[in-house]
Symmetry: C2
Subunit: 119 residues, 2 copies
């Protein structure tokens, strides 16, 4: 299952941020990444960092549910517990070019996070 | 990529509901399916049908972004336009046993659907 160049990069990124080393995770992200997130499109590593960094900080448990890939595309699905919300799964579909994540579509449900914020 | 028993079933289910034949899609779903949806856990095909059937009816466009699998697990990620919400991506991680989907974790963002409902 890890015999995929794209998946190797996706998992390196995943294990870095879930292991608490977000700077290491960012080394797998292209400067020009385009990330389609529930809140909208993010252009570039700085915008991506602002989005994903805070989430990595509040995650208290991450469990990989599935990880697959081919030469250029990988999908990672995981469940997380976070400080405000338990059981918050997410899925990422990434394109990898020259060992860096150049495109990411990330899907998760914002409702429980909004509920926690307004509680 | 389709050389996976689990993925064959996941895609048969996917192509059936996106092709407008939800009853055909349900033939790939185990009577005892457990589905973990954003709104909570659904037990059994009847509960699953109540959840997924209405969504299939409002989908106007479905684009497969990625589909991978192995013997027992598959992941499908797609983008959809629906009558109330455009650009509503979803991801499904399924377990397949004896050619039927017995477990599904489905992830999507409920926020735009709630916004459309209250608009």
């Amino acid at each position: 299952m890890t015999d995929s160049p794209a998946l190797r990069t996706a998992l390196a990124y995943h294990h870095a941020w879930t292991g608490g080393d977000f700077e290491l995770a960012m080394t797998h992200v292209c400067d020009d990444i385009v990330c389609l997130a529930p809140s909208g499109r993010l252009d570039g590593a700085a915008a991506f960092r602002q989005f994903m960094g805070p989430f990595a900080q509040i995650a208290t448990r991450v469990e990989l549910l599935a990880a697959f890939g081919d030469d250029t595309t990988a999908v990672v699905m995981y469940d997380t517990d976070t400080v405000p919300v338990k059981d918050a799964p997410g899925a990422e579909c990434v394109t990898v070019t020259d060992g860096k994540i150049t495109w990411m579509r990330i899907v998760f449900d914002r409702v429980p996070f909004e509920q926690a914020r307004s509680a």
